[in-house]
Symmetry: D2
Subunit: 134 residues, 4 copies
């Protein structure tokens, strides 16, 4: 996402917190959204789909929240700090829940990979949330 | 959204809170997402766009959060209560911020209409959040 | 979606085709997106989920395309006619495919309801596409 | 997006075209969606916003279509080929239109960067569309 980095750098009025941390969070949400979307699709194609239903549902929710959180962060201008903090909290919650469910299916490589993406995204959300000042 | 009501009624394993309140919230988020998207577009076309920049930004964020919150609610099966509560809180926060900004532009009918949709959606989010039990 | 209608009416520079037809299409896409999201969730909770996998996948795709098509239409200013036409064509294609799959499961009321929403949205997309002049 | 690559590799029933090309396209859409979202935000913050209105509108549409196209591709199971082809066509059309508008503002680095992301995504969409067999 090198073009995004260049756009962030060239933004005429970036928020104080629109730096490398925001850029890394956009990357983490994009990766997690794609991983959750693909993992839900893979779970749906498994013979054991009956046992994977809560994982599919959790992946769908997590993909949606990661995608929208990345969008907010990809707008580097002045933001409503309360909204951003609340959304980062919701995204972290969804990522942790999905990571826990996916980690239960440790016989499936796609669930393991998805759980890793979720944990990284959750950590990035928490870091960003704690960094928002006002 | 009569078809949605029928699908909710026919769901084989709905969550305890997937009733009329969830249905009304999906409607409120759909209306608010569309109103915010259209209001941002209208503000952008105004001669006074320079004074409407924070309103546009706020409408874009609010439209995104309403759309994703509606999606979570449109899945009436068992949900992660913590994720749902956090997302409802984020959506309410965005709606209240957007309603406040839009209400400042009381010379513009599209901002007034948008502020009304935001307030209704915020109230619906709070009602739903308080109704989630565990 | 009465607020959307008011915003459309108050838009300072609406496209020639941003009238009642666009408004009705935004409504149809919102209904179809919600119906497909809820139908996928209902199918996932059915005991016969193994037989419903293609329906779930189709509903997820259709929900995504309806949501994004509604967003384009909810921006009533001047649009890129080629983009709009192509997107309306993609949305119609997804809706027809999903309607066909859902209609196969005529023992399930949620699939029947979803198929109806898909057919209405497909027809609305085609009508709008044919109405775009340039 | 290394986790996505691992999930694609571990999918139990991937479509014939769900290989490296699909993976690269998910990456290209994610980059273009983020670039367009950030470029619209940067244009909105420019003093010359009045001259950038068509660019903002185009970036918003393009971001939406790239995001949804990436979602379809991130589901590597069997797809409806007609829907996928039509959506790739719509996404390519939006990307080319946005690249053209952004390239006009060659005094702004964010528009130049965004135009590059759009062109890469358009080319990736076309390549994928031509590769879909049935």
């Amino acid at each position: 996402m090198e073009t995004l980095k260049r756009i962030f750098r060239d933004h005429p009025a970036p928020a104080s917190d629109a730096g490398d941390e925001a850029y890394e969070l956009v990357r983490a949400t994009a990766e997690c959204a794609a991983a959750c979307t693909a993992c839900a699709d893979a779970c749906l194609a498994e013979a054991a789909v009956l046992q994977l239903r809560d994982c599919i549902r959790s992946c769908l929710d997590c993909a949606d929240l990661c995608a929208v959180t990345g969008r907010l962060l990809a707008r580097p201008g002045e933001q409503d700090a309360d909204t951003l903090r609340a959304q980062l909290s919701a995204c972290e919650t969804a990522c942790r829940a999905c990571a826990t469910l996916c980690a239960h299916h440790d016989g499936m490589a796609h669930c393991i990979a998805c759980a890793e993406a979720c944990r990284r995204c959750a950590d990035a959300c928490r870091g960003m949330r704690e960094a928002i000042v006002s």
